[in-house]
């Protein structure tokens, strides 16, 4: 093997063993540019080296799946010749370093992944996690991230229709910004990245290449320390106006048949796009870097190949179609440059100023990418805590008021009002409900979308927590009346080289896989973000799920607001009063402890299918899933949304606080007009339903507790977030 004395001092994040593999592949010492290419391609961010082994265990197939993981985004069939194309992706590390640009370019990147495949993006979603509200950086980070998401999505004219925001001290040093985009394309106009064919022009379009974001993928593959702020230059700078032009120009060119393959330049920019196109097409690519449009003149091949400048695409065109493409990009005032050709060498060759800056065989660059079966330790199980062990509140009504106004449960209006959630005029279900509902333009169909994860459950039991994330997303989509079709996942964890962290990842993937299988909603795309830790302190394990469902006639959809006085209120599903790992226990009874509520997937499926059928049959007037905060919080949210109260008369056969705030899974609250018909249908479906009260009045009354006026609930719900953001105290 090589003489270690020859080793460059900086291996750019590669291990000694990985460097040895490079020497073997090349048969010589890599040039600087070549080392840079290996470094980013084999970074955790691009190679999934720690997670690949486990990701392969996830269910990814189904009759609805047109394209599973492995392309820019997943593709599912939604009927009538249309496909939904979607994916979720993290931009955690950059958003902590520079929240506005980090979040903005996260949104820009995920939209590119979707329109690269031929889809017009129709909805953006996100899942955000911040540190403790009292942490000095939290307000600044949240303000920047929300502005950045809005700044990019609003300018693009793609509505941001929903998401989730939570706070926990575990995110003090590593926030999470996961952005999801859903687009719609014709099933016969889906574009892939395989550059099949030799002698074809390789064409660069979009913004010019600058020296921003160099080694961004490497930065995103390492933990932070006290000097993380010094990594600012690795954060890209977004230009949503250019991306809007790029979107329109790409869709215009895609309407012709000039494109053979197209790949966006995301993480690792020109490197990963050219390597992926060559590898999938089993061809070689020679690029002349002198022809790359540049923002600054004196860029080296190393910088050009590793730049993560935004709003760029690489395409392979049919020969002779360059002028047609150029005319379209000229119209949109964007650069188009033929920078290379495909050949049969299966090598990536970079020419620059008459010299060869890199010459790498593509198959080993991809196939020899490291894959680790890292050692892992299963998270030890926690004891089940019974309700009596969790202190009861002095007053149920007071506890409920405090919970609906708490940082994790209060209204997110302050956030989503900064997002244009109505542009494109197809947002039928606006933010704040269980799932966003976006009409398929020009039809009666709508897509229902939700993003979910309950990290405190995952920490306590990764397998159950992974199941629960899938189940809750599935439940939210079901609660509007839609049929969940497929999932995308974003696995956010700490350092996978620590066996207990790896154990969280393994458990969560196992739980997710089991749930996706049982609920027949495969994972079609996703992203992994590891090393979310600072000075050895990891985030809560946060495997976020994005679920996309379909409703054929959106006039059948329901919302979560109470609508009519006098309607019966039912719980669907059994209430056992599970307080372990509940929000109530965490916030009002001394802190999170014990096992999280388990999810019985067979029951989940049965309850969801029953609720969906009841909605579509018109038997249900409003529906809300029961999650954080339990029944009482769910009822309060329905009252607040509708501006009508309810009287809950059922007497709990357990401690009242366990009934009110327990977080037993697979439950919904529904309202209906015909009580008997609903009970009959439930009996037939073998679903446990409980008639607990009646909609009406100006207050929510929980059995013997003091009535709370809907106005007071609403005020408490709306107060915290804007007040927090407006104050200057830490």
């Amino acid at each position: 093997m090589s003489d270690t004395a020859e080793r460059p001092e900086d291996l750019m994040g590669l291990s000694d063993e990985e460097y040895d593999t490079i020497l073997n592949i090349l048969g010589r010492t890599p040039k600087l540019t070549e080392l840079g290419i290996f470094s980013v391609m084999w970074s955790e961010h691009c190679s999934y080296k720690s997670s690949k082994f486990w990701l392969k265990t996830l269910p990814t197939e189904g009759p609805q799946v047109i394209q599973g993981p492995g392309e820019n985004a997943g593709v599912i069939d939604i009927g009538d010749g249309l496909a939904a194309i979607f994916k979720i992706e993290s931009h955690n590390h950059p958003s902590f370093i520079e929240p506005y640009q980090g979040a903005a370019t996260g949104v820009g990147g995920i939209m590119r992944d979707v329109f690269t495949m031929g889809a017009r993006p129709v909805a953006n979603m996100n899942a955000l996690r911040f540190g403790a509200p009292e942490h000095p950086k939290t307000r600044h980070l949240m303000d920047g991230v929300v502005s950045g998401i809005g700044g990019y999505g609003n300018c693009m004219g793609v509505p941001t229709v929903g998401g989730e925001v939570n706070f926990d001290p575990a995110y003090n040093g590593n926030i999470l910004v996961n952005a999801m985009t859903v687009g719609i394309a014709s099933t016969d106009k889906i574009f892939y990245s395989a550059a099949a064919g030799v002698g074809l022009p390789v064409v660069y379009v979009g913004a010019k290449t600058g020296s921003d974001g160099i080694h961004g993928a490497t930065m995103a593959s390492a933990a932070f320390d006290d000097d993380s702020a010094e990594k600012r230059p690795t954060v890209q700078v977004g230009d949503p106006f250019t991306e809007k032009l790029l979107l329109e120009a790409c869709l215009e060119l895609m309407a012709t048949d000039a494109i053979i393959a197209i790949q966006d330049m995301g993480a690792a920019g020109l490197t990963s796009s050219s390597v992926e196109m060559a590898d999938k097409g089993k061809v070689g690519i020679t690029l002349n870097l002198d022809h790359v449009p540049k923002r600054e003149t004196a860029m080296t091949p190393y910088e050009m190949m590793l730049s993560e400048s935004q709003e760029r695409m690489l395409m392979v065109l049919k020969p002779g179609r360059e002028d047609e493409a150029r005319a379209i990009f000229d119209k949109w005032e964007l650069d188009l440059a033929v920078i290379g050709k495909t050949n049969d060498s299966q090598r990536l060759v970079l020419e620059w100023q008459g010299e060869t800056a890199a010459d790498i065989p593509v198959p080993p660059l991809v196939a020899a990418a490291p894959e680790y079966e890292r050692p892992w330790i299963a998270t030890p199980p926690r004891a089940v805590i019974c309700a009596a062990e969790v202190a009861a509140p002095v007053d149920i009504a007071e506890a409920l008021l405090a919970l609906v106004g708490s940082p994790d449960l209060c209204s997110r209006r302050w956030v989503w009002e900064q997002y244009d959630h109505m542009v494109m005029a197809d947002t039928v279900g606006r933010p704040g409900g269980d799932a966003a509902l976006v009409r398929v333009h020009g039809t009666k169909k709508a897509l229902a979308i939700s993003t979910d994860c309950t990290p405190r459950y995952v920490l306590a039991n990764p397998v159950e927590g992974g199941k629960q994330a899938v189940a809750e997303a599935w439940r939210n989509v079901t609660a509007v009346g839609a049929t969940p079709l497929a999932m995308t996942n974003n696995l956010n964890f700490g350092n996978p080289e620590r066996p207990e962290i790896m154990g969280q990842l393994v458990g969560a993937v196992q739980g997710m896989g089991a749930a996706c299988l049982a609920l027949e909603a495969p994972i079609v795309s996703g992203n992994v973000s590891l090393y979310n830790e600072t000075n050895g302190e990891a985030i809560l394990p946060t495997p976020v799920i994005g679920c996309v469902g379909l409703i054929d006639d959106l006039t059948n959809a329901v919302g979560s607001a109470f609508i009519n006085e006098g309607e019966a209120v039912f719980i669907v599903g059994e209430t056992a009063g599970w307080l372990g790992c509940s929000i109530y226990q965490r916030d009002q009874a001394g802190g999170t402890a014990g096992a999280p509520p388990p999810v019985d997937l067979e029951i989940e499926r049965r309850h969801g299918d029953f609720v969906r059928a009841a909605i579509l049959d018109g038997r249900v007037t409003a529906c809300h899933d029961v999650s954080d905060g339990g029944l009482a919080v769910a009822l309060a949210e329905m009252a607040i949304a509708g501006g009508i109260g309810a009287e809950i008369t059922a007497t709990p056969d357990m401690p009242a606080h366990a009934w009110a705030f327990g977080e037993d899974q697979s439950r919904y609250i529904v309202t209906c007009t015909d009580t008997n018909a609903f009970i009959t249908a439930a009996t037939e479906a073998e679903v446990h339903v409980t008639h607990i009260g009646t909609v009406g009045g100006a207050a929510l009354t929980l059995f013997e507790a003091e009535p709370i006026s809907v106005a007071a609930l609403s005020e408490a719900h709306l107060r915290w977030l804007p007040a927090y953001m407006a104050s200057r105290e830490a």
């Binding site: 004219g157 230009d239 809007k244 989503w416 900064q418 997002y419 542009v423």
Partner: protein, 231 residues
């Protein structure tokens, strides 16, 4: 057959929404006119849609106001062709001088997307004849730069000339600071030019012209325009 044109700038993003609303009211699709065109087709209505023309990079609407097509739009307006500018379209119309005043950053310095109540100040215009004067309508707003400002003389001219089309108001029609979402002077949400054939407004009537989207208060504007033009 009455016809409409929707001007499309690089960065326009409510052009399709506007076209959908116009098609529903006119019974046929409007012509989409690219900003670089030097000629405006002969139409009965010109709509300047919302979005982020040129990324709002210099100042909202400033660059679009200098597009070749806007000279044609100004010429058509001076001949009496109705011109409707919504959101970024309103900003463009102020930047090119077809309407007075300026749209500054919202007082909160935040982008705001929410339904707002608007009081219809005049129902005798071609744009607003589908409403009654004093009626309160609910229409979404979605902008960062909608804080209308005009100097005292301009404001006096607007008020004296009954050229305020809509004001932000409480659900009962009361005009107050509390009902002002963005700091606009005199709660102004939309104004007419002197001749009354140019309307600029920040909120989006085209986004609530379909019952499935949660409201139809925007619909009468497009229906009234279709009727006025057909007449």
């Amino acid at each position: 057959m009455s016809t409409a044109a929707v001007i499309v700038f690089p960065g326009s993003n409510c052009d399709r929404d506007m076209a959908v609303a116009l098609e529903a009211a006119f019974g046929h699709a409007p012509q989409m006119v690219w900003h670089g065109n030097r000629a405006l087709p002969k139409v009965d209505l010109v709509a300047v849609p919302g979005g982020f023309s040129y990324g709002d990079y210099l100042r909202s609407g400033a660059m679009a106001a200098n597009s070749p097509i806007m000279r044609e739009v100004a010429a058509a307006a001076s001949r009496g062709t109705p011109v409707l500018g919504i959101c970024n379209g309103f900003q463009v119309l102020t930047e090119c001088g077809l309407l007075p005043g300026v749209l500054m950053r919202n007082a909160s310095l935040k982008f705001i997307c929410r339904d707002v109540d608007l009081r219809v100040e005049r129902a005798d215009s071609i744009f607003t004849s589908g409403y009654t004067a004093g009626q309160v309508i609910r229409v979404p707003m979605a902008h960062h730069d909608g804080n209308y400002f005009a100097d005292p003389d301009t404001l006096k001219a607007l008020e004296d000339g009954d050229r305020v089309a809509f004001r932000y108001c409480a659900p009962d029609g009361t005009i107050s600071d509390l009902a002002n979402p963005n700091g606009s002077i005199a709660n102004i949400a939309g104004i007419f030019n002197e001749a009354g054939n140019v309307l600029g407004m920040m909120p989006h009537p085209e986004r609530l012209a379909d019952p499935l989207l949660g409201g139809t208060d925007g619909l009468p504007m497009f229906q009234a325009l279709a009727e006025a033009i057909a007449a």
